[in-house]
Point group: C2
Chain length 215, copies 2
């Protein structure tokens, strides 16, 4: 099923679908059409049908998608039918804020360890986790089967932390530091630099102005 190369953009939309489907399930909604999905997620329904069709034939004409079945399928696609342990490196404001999200990370994904370099932070508690020295990273990654790392250290420490995560056997990194990390090809890095989001928003400011002038 995963033999075809799926674009990153498609993969990134899967959790968005999943989140909305979970909402629907909480409201006891049984089926949903691509039109309704599109309307609520600000996406073209044809795009949604195409995205989901990469992974299988989930919808039924005239009825739409079975919510529970689609949730199960997307969870399988995203490997969320297995437990995924996450390490966070950097126990500053951002690290603390992210570990508060831990409760939203249902779906078997959990931050299970927090690391820092600064002596002052080691031993402190963040959301039931004790901040560990970075020197314990390799052992903890091995013991807890951690596969994903989150980097929330300052930009000048990010590459060194990435090297340590890779060395410890991490397979994927979510990087919040505003630098481009160099990692081996088999390690997947997503940049979560919020400045990119913010700068790209600026593009739409003038568009809005132009179109309101035109119309």
């Amino acid at each position: 099923m995963k033999s075809e190369k799926i674009s990153d953009a498609v993969v990134r939309r899967m959790p968005v679908y999943l989140r909305y489907l979970n909402e629907l399930q909480n409201r006891d909604v049984m089926t949903v059409s691509s039109q309704e999905l599109g309307q609520n997620l600000d996406l073209n329904p044809a795009q949604i049908r195409k995205d989901l069709a990469y992974f299988g034939d989930f919808g039924r004409k005239g009825i739409g998608y079975d919510v529970a079945y689609l949730i199960e399928k997307i969870r399988q696609i995203l490997n969320l039918d297995q437990e995924i342990s996450v390490a966070l490196v950097g126990a500053g404001n951002l690290g603390q804020a992210l570990s508060n999200y831990n409760m939203y990370l249902k779906d078997n994904m959990k931050i299970v360890a927090v690391f820092d370099i600064a002596e002052a932070k080691i031993g402190s508690q963040i959301n039931y986790l004790t901040v560990q020295p970075i020197t314990e990273l390799p052992e903890t990654v091995r013991n807890l089967g951690i596969r994903i790392g989150i980097i929330t250290v300052p930009h000048w420490e990010a590459q060194r932390v990435a090297d340590q995560l890779v060395e410890a056997g991490i397979q994927a990194i979510l990087n919040f530091a505003p630098v481009i990390l160099k990692v081996p090809a088999e390690v997947r890095v997503h940049a979560a630099d919020f400045t990119t989001d913010l700068l790209s928003l600026a593009y739409y400011l003038d568009q809005g102005k132009e179109s309101s002038n035109e119309s």
Copy 2:
């Protein structure tokens, strides 16, 4: 130039190009090829050439792109040749972390005001800004010409804050709360929910495993 509909994915890559070009300029590099850009940004060079060609004919065959010229052009594309004021709503850990990024927001974009609902936080200082009560939002937006809002409140407060930002005349919102916001069509919302990034990373875990089994 902006009459053609440019996909959001293309727009979102522009700040990534800009960041790397700024790095090159700091290292006194004068020209760069799409190959080199691609190698450093983990993108297909043809994709980069296509992205930039949407906005104009910036490259020269056999020479590549003039770094300074391309920086200037991308800044124009993203409206960063004008000052863009940003308001942040939610002075918790995440809000504090984000305002620490303010120094990376060169390019005329700046967080100029911070708001919160909680009495306890109002009047406190975050990165030289005094946290204001949300009731002052409309006046401050008007006085400072704020056009973008960042939402870093808990998810159950996010929609109400979004409504207040829209009411106050904000044109674009970066939303960190893990909910889908309902806003008028002319307001642009980017979701910065990091759980989406994290969940989509999980997709690549098994792929890595599969390909290492295969090869």
